[in-house]
């Protein structure tokens, strides 16, 4: 491939690619995102390869291994184009039927369609499934139509036309102005206006400047950036090249964690292809602009997502934050002006350039524009990646897209923003997704983690989980963060063990105040948020643990006990046989009794007790019910 030397040559290629493709030729898109891979998505793809060969369909049907479609709950996902027929939870054994019925027979396989749990009706097309219907998939939507290893797929969908527009119709300053006008705020967590950052970096007086993609996503349960980089790496690259042009940078880095092997692989392939096509290199599309990109694989420290730490790591030093009273936009990598944006932020750039800031600001709220991708996980029916317009309420995401809480349980809280975020309780579930509104209620937008919790979740235990995560993911450099987290974990452990003392809540608040005010970097300054937000909205749960030694959600092991209800028990012996600690004393025809000294509170008895008996219950700080003599 000779690098393209002009926009006209790109258009010719685009036309040729589109002309080669028959829009009516069936195409089977198998999701090969990380979620579907874990559910045998690759085996499904392999079964299609073999099946296509078997039926001699090689020239009659295309097979595409795409990036993540988002509906991970129902993976592996298969979409048949051009009709857009969507099959869920497809297994390799379903493949012959799909080929026979749908590809050859043009019939829908009803058993593989999504069934709406509310109406009980099956849904044929992806766009009609409530999970997708209620989203606005501007950044993420192309994932299901693109083979991430095929630059032609990206070009066929209009790829790199934003780059052409920026390079040939706009000055660098105009590009910065457009991004500023779009009011694009950083999707990595902070929400800082990207345009202002670009402007500062652009105005910095230094010949050498760097632009960086932050793909060091590490929030528990979050995989938005991963799926974007895996599924549509060229959209991120195109944004990065446009940013480099606007800022005046000639070298960029993609900082991606080593634990994301597919993202590392796909972005490396994308860079190689972009060089071959002339989207990267000395004279990009004949514009005279030169820019190259290197991949830097991160060693996996959560804290390395912090800008100064990430830049230190790129320099080859330990990925630890350092004081940044001079912005990295002025003094970053090797003390040169450096502009760092998150994967999703970069992926928004081609959209803004193509469709204009005027269009972009029509989406969202007054101060938060565009869309945001969330990884919706936890106690929610439809786990997956969702992209929604800013301003949508948490309730709409959890119920309309997420399908509500499984098992008829009650919603309790939603955690946004990962370890730096907070828990938002039921009374605030109508809070709109907006940088400032989420901060207002004590949480934050963060990079897009959204963990739904039901009534069986203990909020003290939740706070403890996040603090414990941070204890080992803080760099440990500054005292407030390291020692503050250490003592917070001690206190929370004690509370969960029933050893909480009066004054513990106030002490947690005191430590939090110093961490927020005096920590070196944003990790430490936001680390108390999970604790403070749970104290703010669930103080009664803390008090129950401390004063009554009661865990209201019946989660904290030291504060609960299991008990067999004599009037319900049918002496079936299942619990006796399954107890791994031999803690249930019973015999043929006898009502078993749990030896509380021996019991490890694993909950096996509760799980195995047949639902028709329902004889095992969990108690916390309440007397065991007695058999009433009748």
């Amino acid at each position: 491939m000779v690098p393209l030397k002009s926009p006209a040559e790109l258009e010719n290629i685009r036309k040729a690619v589109i002309a080669r493709r028959d829009p009516n030729k069936p195409c089977i898109a198998v999701c090969s995102g990380t979620g579907c891979r874990a559910l045998a998505g690759q085996e499904v793809a392999l079964a299609f390869v073999q099946g296509i060969k078997l039926h001699g369909l090689e020239t009659k049907v295309d097979l595409k291994r795409t990036g993540c479609h988002g509906f991970c709950e129902k993976g592996p996902l298969v979409v048949i184009y051009p009709e857009g027929i969507t099959y869920v939870q497809v297994q390799p054994s379903d493949v012959p039927e799909i080929l026979r019925e749908t590809i050859i027979g043009k019939q829908v396989v009803h058993g593989l369609l999504y069934t709406d749990p509310v109406t009980g009706e099956t849904v044929v097309h992806e766009s009609e499934i409530p999970f997708y219907r209620n989203q606005l998939r501007l950044v993420f939507g192309n994932n299901s139509e693109i083979d991430p290893k095929s630059i032609e797929d990206y070009i066929a969908l209009g790829g790199y036309s934003a780059l052409v527009k920026a390079l040939f119709e706009m000055t660098p300053k105009q590009v910065v102005e457009e991004v500023k006008k779009a009011n694009l705020r950083g999707r990595g967590g902070g929400g800082f206006p990207a345009g202002r950052k670009w402007e500062e970096c652009r105005n910095a007086t230094d010949e050498v400047k760097y632009v960086i993609v932050n793909a060091d996503e590490g929030d528990p349960g979050a995989y938005m950036d991963r799926s974007l980089l895996e599924g549509n790496p060229h959209s991120v690259l195109e944004g990065l090249i446009i940013g480099a042009y606007a800022i005046g940078s000639h070298l960029g880095y993609v900082y991606v964690r080593q634990e994301y092997p597919l993202a590392v692989e796909n972005v490396a392939v994308a860079i190689k292809q972009a060089v071959e096509y002339g989207f990267l290199g000395q004279n990009i599309l004949g514009s005279g602009f030169a820019f190259n990109v290197e991949v830097h694989r991160g060693a996996g420290a959560f804290v390395s997502g912090e800008s100064t730490a990430l830049m230190a790591a790129i320099e080859g030093r330990v990925g630890e934050p350092s004081p940044k009273y001079i912005h990295t936009a002025i003094r970053g990598i090797f003390n040169k002006p450096s502009n760092l944006n998150n994967v999703e932020t970069w992926a928004n750039i081609p959209l803004i350039i193509t469709k204009g800031a005027g269009w972009y600001i029509s989406i969202g709220t007054e101060r938060s524009k565009g869309t945001k991708i969330f990884s919706l996980v936890g106690k929610v029916n439809n786990t997956g990646l969702v992209e929604v317009p800013m301003g949508i309420t948490l309730r709409e995401i959890i119920y309309n897209i997420g399908g509500g809480i499984p098992g008829g349980k009650k919603f309790k809280a939603v955690q946004t923003g990962g370890p730096s975020g907070g828990c938002i309780p039921e009374q605030l579930i109508d809070t709109p997704v907006d940088f400032d509104e989420l901060t207002e209620v004590g949480s934050m937008m963060g990079s897009g983690g959204m963990v739904v919790m039901d009534e069986d979740t203990c909020m003290v235990d939740t706070a403890r989980y996040f603090v414990s995560f941070l204890c080992y993911e803080s760099c440990g450099k500054c005292v407030p963060c390291r020692e503050g987290l250490r003592q917070m974990l001690n206190i929370l452990n004690n509370i969960c063990l029933g050893k909480g003392r009066d004054g513990d809540i106030e002490l947690l608040e005191e430590i939090s105040a110093t961490m927020k005010e005096a920590s070196l970097c944003a990790l430490g300054r936001t680390a108390p948020n999970p604790v403070l937000s749970t104290i703010r909205y669930f103080r009664d749960e803390y008090e129950a643990h401390i004063k009554d030694k009661c865990c209201p959600a019946k989660v904290c092991r030291e504060l609960i006990s299991y008990c067999i209800l004599p009037d319900k028990c049918q002496a079936c012996m299942i619990c006796v046989r399954n107890c791994p600690a031999d803690a249930i004393i019973g015999g043929e025809g006898l009502i078993p009794v749990i030896d509380q000294q021996k019991c490890t509170k694993c909950g096996t008895c509760l799980e195995v007790c047949p639902p028709r008996f329902d004889a095992v219950i969990k108690l916390s700080a309440e007397p065991a019910p007695r058999l009433v003599a009748s």
């Binding site: 420290a301 009273y325 080992y472 993911e473 005292v479 390291r482 105040a513 110093t514 005010e517 005096a518």
Partner: protein
């Protein structure tokens, strides 16, 4: 070289080019407590004891004075209720680790009698003075940090330390926690085979 006129605790201070708030304050005899600062080493910003208030556009902000560059017209308050409260908490958090030496005297100075946190003595406050001195001044890298977060600790690099440390020992005097002396004695007692 342009001097920066600043106001520190009501005193007018002319800070030289490239100076930090801490250096400018010490120049005029205003003491700001530190545990991880050494004027021979690059600012580290780890202990956060040197946190001060600055007023910018009418807004008060907390910054680490060891790293914040002196600026023309900057107004700095090195003591306030807020600053003192932060220093007290930092010292209270450090007392369980190293209750003697500088931590003890600073704690007394800030009116702290005892810590509410359980003692966990290891005589190291992870200020990194030894690590940075060894790297930046000696260029030896015989001592380093290992572990992350609450598992962070100072460790001798075996192959290098056994050769260099017994004769150098310069970092001993820097240690505010008192850990190094005993560690080096151990190292001396067990020379590399």
């Amino acid at each position: 070289m342009k001097n920066k006129a600043m106001n520190i605790d009501g005193k007018m201070v002319n800070a030289g080019e490239g100076m930090t708030i801490l250096q400018a304050a010490r120049e005029v005899g205003i003491d700001i407590p530190t545990l991880c600062y050494d004027d021979r080493l690059a600012p580290y910003g780890g202990c956060r004891l040197c946190t001060v208030e600055i007023v910018e556009d009418g807004q008060t902000r907390l910054v680490a004075s060891c790293a914040y560059p002196a600026e023309e017209g900057l107004v700095v308050k090195t003591r306030s209720e807020r600053v003192d409260r932060i220093r007290q908490m930092i010292l209270e958090l450090l007392m369980p680790l190293a209750p003697t030496g500088p931590v003890e005297s600073l704690a007394r100075h800030y009116g702290l009698k005892e810590s509410r946190f359980e003692a966990d003595l290891n005589f190291c406050v992870l200020c990194g003075l030894c690590v940075r001195y060894c790297a930046e001044i000696k260029g030896a890298n015989a001592i380093c940090f290992t572990g992350r977060g609450i598992e962070r600790q100072v460790t001798f690099v075996p192959g290098i330390a056994s050769k260099i440390c017994p004769v150098c020992r310069e970092c001993l005097a820097l240690c505010p926690g008192g850990m190094l002396a005993s560690e080096i004695e151990c190292l001396l007692a067990s020379p590399e085979e």
